[in-house]
C-alpha cells in the first residue's frame, strides 16, 4: 500500500507543475476572454429574462382578466336570483312568472351520476389494462390513438350520434340513460387518459415490492396501483362531473330541454341546467321573466362548476396529505 502511495505521489508531482503552467496561461489570456463572454452572456440573459417575464405576465393577466370578466358578468346578472331558496328548490313555470330550477339541478346531477357509473368502470378498466397488463404494441397504440382522436371530436357530433344510436335505434327515447351513454362516450377518452397518467405516476418500486411479496398482477393493480393512483383518478372524475354538468350540445339531442317535474327513472326525459339555459336563450319561453330564470340558472351552474373544480384540488391535496407526501 505504502509503495503504491509513494508512486502515486511521484506521478502526481510533475502534473502539479503542468497545472501551474496552465494557471498562468489562463490568467493572462483565457480568463479575460471568458470574463468578457460571461459578462456579455449575462447581460443578454438578463434582457431575455426581462422580456419573457413581462410577456408571460401580460398574457396571464389578459387571460385571467377575460375569465374574471365572464365570471363577473354571469354572477352579476344572476347571483341574486340563484341564491334564493325559492329559485333553487322551486318548480319551473311554463306559463307564469316566478319559476325555479329544482328539476334541472336534479337532472344535471342525476345525469352526471349515471354517466360516471358507466364511464368509470370502462375508463379505469381500459387504463388499468393498458398500463398494467398489456404489452406495449400495436393494439395499445391503436387504442390510445383512437381515444385521442375521439377527444378532439366536437360534443355536438356526439350529441347527434347519441340521438341516432341511443334515442332512436335502441329506442331509449329522450332520456337520462340515452344522455348518460352519450356523455360516457364523450368523456371516456379523458377518464381513460387521466387514469392512465395517474397510474403511470405510481412508482415502479411499489409494484416491485408488492409482486415480491407474492401478489399476482391483478392483486397488485387492485391493492397497490389503484389506491396509489386514487388522488389522480378522483380528481379526474370530479373534473369530469364538472364537464358533464356544463355540457349542453351532447345533451340537447339526447336528454331534453325542459321538464316540470323531477325525473325519477333513468328512462325519463330530463332537462340538465346547461341544456335548459340554451333552450331559454334560443327559443325564449312563454314566460316574461325567462331572462331572470336563465341568468339565475347560469350563475348557479357556474357556482357548481367552480365548486367542483375547487373540490377536485382539495381532494387531491387531502389524499396527498394522508399519504404523508405533503407535510
Amino acid at each position: 500500500m505504502s509503495t503504491d502511495l509513494k508512486t502515486g505521489v511521484e506521478i502526481a508531482r510533475p502534473s502539479v507543475e503542468v497545472v501551474g503552467d496552465l494557471c498562468e496561461f489562463k490568467d493572462s489570456r483565457i480568463e479575460g476572454i471568458i470574463q468578457q463572454s460571461i459578462a456579455r452572456n449575462e447581460k443578454r440573459a438578463h434582457f431575455y429574462d426581462r422580456v419573457a417575464t413581462v410577456t408571460v405576465w401580460t398574457l396571464s393577466i389578459i387571460g385571467l382578466g377575460i375569465l374574471a370578466f365572464i365570471i363577473f358578468v354571469i354572477l352579476y346578472r344572476g347571483i341574486a336570483t340563484a341564491l334564493t331558496p325559492g329559485f333553487i328548490f322551486g318548480k319551473p313555470q311554463a306559463l307564469k312568472e316566478g319559476g325555479g330550477i329544482w328539476p334541472m339541478i336534479v337532472s344535471s346531477f342525476y345525469l352526471a351520476l349515471l354517466t360516471i357509473a358507466i364511464v368509470l368502470p370502462l375508463g379505469v378498466g381500459a387504463a388499468v389494462y393498458l398500463t398494467e397488463f398489456s404489452r406495449e404494441g400495436r393494439i395499445t397504440r391503436l387504442v390510445r390513438f383512437g381515444a385521442d382522436s375521439l377527444s378532439t371530436v366536437p360534443s355536438v357530433v356526439f350529441g347527434i350520434f347519441g340521438m341516432v344510436l341511443f334515442v332512436i335505434y335502441f329506442g331509449l327515447g329522450y332520456s337520462l340513460l340515452a344522455g348518460a351513454f352519450t356523455l360516457a362516450l364523450l368523456n371516456m377518452p379523458t377518464v381513460m387518459r387521466t387514469t392512465e397518467e395517474a397510474i403511470k405516476a405510481v412508482p415502479h418500486s411499489y409494484r416491485e415490492a408488492c409482486l415480491s411479496l407474492g401478489a399476482s398482477r391483478w392483486e397488485t393493480a387492485k391493492k397497490i396501483v389503484l389506491p396509489s393512483a386514487m388522488p389522480g383518478i378522483t380528481t379526474g372524475v370530479v373534473l369530469t362531473v364538472g364537464r358533464i354538468v356544463g355540457e349542453s350540445a351532447a345533451v340537447l339531442y339526447t336528454v331534453g330541454l325542459f321538464v316540470r317535474k323531477v325525473p325519477v327513472s333513468p328512462l325519463q326525459p330530463a332537462a340538465p341546467m346547461a341544456a335548459n339555459i340554451w333552450h331559454m336563450y334560443t327559443e325564449g319561453a312563454l314566460v316574461s321573466d325567462w331572462m331572470r330564470v336563465a341568468n339565475g340558472e347560469a350563475a348557479f351552474l357556474l357556482l357548481v362548476v367552480l365548486v367542483l373544480n375547487l373540490g377536485a384540488r382539495l381532494i387531491a391535496r387531502i389524499y396527498q396529505k394522508r399519504l404523508g407526501m405533503v407535510s
Binding site: S205, Y206, E208, L213, G214, S216, E219, I224, G324, M325
Partner: protein, 260 residues
C-alpha cells in the same frame, strides 16, 4: 426428500435481456440457513443474478433464462412452477427502501392480508412480532397508524425487512440494503441479519467488502471481463477463504480495492 443442505442450486445459468447476455454460466449452490454474499464491480450483474432467484426478472421485457435454477429440488423456471408461490417463499428487500404509501401497520400486515388472514388479533400479533424481529418495534410502537413514508431511510429499510418477515419466507434476498444508510443504521441491519440467519437463508448483494467479510458465510465474486461481455462468477466459496487466500488473482485485486 431433498436433503443436501442446499436451498438454491444454480446450474449453468445464462441470463439474457433481449439479445444482451447479462450473465453466463453461473453455477452456485446456496446453503440453507447461511448468509451468502454476492460482490463484484458495478454492472457485473449482481442484482440481475439475485432477481433470478425470485423471478423478478420476469418483469423485464425480453428477459430469458437458460440453464436451471433449483429451489429445494424443483426448477423454479419450470413451466408449471407457480411464480406467486415462489415469491411467497423467497422474499426480497430492495436497494432503495420502498414502503407502500400506507401506515406502518398496513405495510407489515400487507403480506398476511394478501394470504387471506383477516383476524384482527392474529394480524396484530404478526405485525408486532415482525417489527420486533426487524428491531424496529420500540421506535414505532406508538405510531403504527401513521404513514410509513414519514420514517427515516434506515427505519423504512427495517420496515421493509419487517414486511418481508411478516410473510415468513424461507429465503430473504437483499440487494444492497444498506447503501442508502448511515453506519449506525447499517450496523443495526447487519446485527439483525446475523440474528435472522438461524431461521432464514439469506442472500445479500453488497458493495461493502467489510460487510461481506463480517456478515456472510459464503461469498460469490462476480465480474465482467470486458465491456459488453456477460458477467460470470470468478470465485465462489467460504467467505474466510475468499477474503484471506483467494485462489484467483482478480478476486484478490478486487477485494484489496485495486480495481473495479
Amino acid at each position: 426428500m431433498h436433503e443436501n443442505g442446499y436451498k438454491f442450486e444454480l446450474e449453468e445459468m445464462d441470463l439474457y435481456y433481449g439479445d444482451f447476455k447479462v450473465l453466463e454460466d453461473v453455477n452456485l449452490e446456496i446453503k440453507k440457513c447461511c448468509i451468502t454474499s454476492i460482490i463484484g464491480p458495478s454492472g457485473c450483474g449482481k442484482s440481475s443474478a439475485l432477481r433470478c432467484l425470485n423471478r423478478m426478472n420476469d418483469l423485464v421485457d425480453g428477459a430469458r433464462i437458460e440453464g436451471s435454477v433449483v429451489l429445494d429440488g424443483e426448477d423454479i423456471y419450470d413451466r408449471n412452477y407457480s411464480v406467486v408461490g415462489l415469491r411467497k417463499r423467497v422474499g426480497m428487500v430492495f436497494q432503495k427502501p420502498n414502503p407502500f404509501p400506507k401506515t406502518i401497520y398496513d405495510n407489515v400486515a400487507f403480506g398476511p392480508r394478501l394470504y387471506g388472514i383477516r383476524d384482527r388479533e392474529t394480524l396484530d400479533g404478526i405485525v408486532e412480532e415482525s417489527l420486533k424481529s426487524a428491531a424496529l418495534f420500540e421506535e414505532v410502537k406508538d405510531k403504527l397508524r401513521t404513514s410509513a413514508l414519514a420514517l427515516s431511510g434506515g427505519q423504512q429499510q427495517r420496515l421493509c425487512i419487517a414486511r418481508v418477515l411478516a410473510v415468513q419466507p424461507e429465503v430473504i434476498l437483499l440487494d444492497e440494503p444498506c447503501s442508502a444508510l448511515d453506519p449506525i443504521a447499517t450496523q443495526r441491519i447487519e446485527d439483525l441479519l446475523s440474528d435472522l440467519k438461524t431461521r432464514y437463508t439469506i442472500v445479500i448483494v453488497t458493495h461493502n467488502m467489510q460487510q461481506a467479510a463480517r456478515l456472510s458465510d459464503y461469498t460469490a465474486f462476480f465480474m465482467i471481463e470486458e465491456q459488453g461481455d456477460p458477467g460470470k462468477i470468478v470465485e465462489y466459496g467460504d467467505t474466510n477463504t475468499i477474503f484471506t487466500k483467494p485462489t484467483d488473482e482478480r478476486t484478490e485485486r478486487y477485494i484489496t480495492g485495486r480495481f473495479g
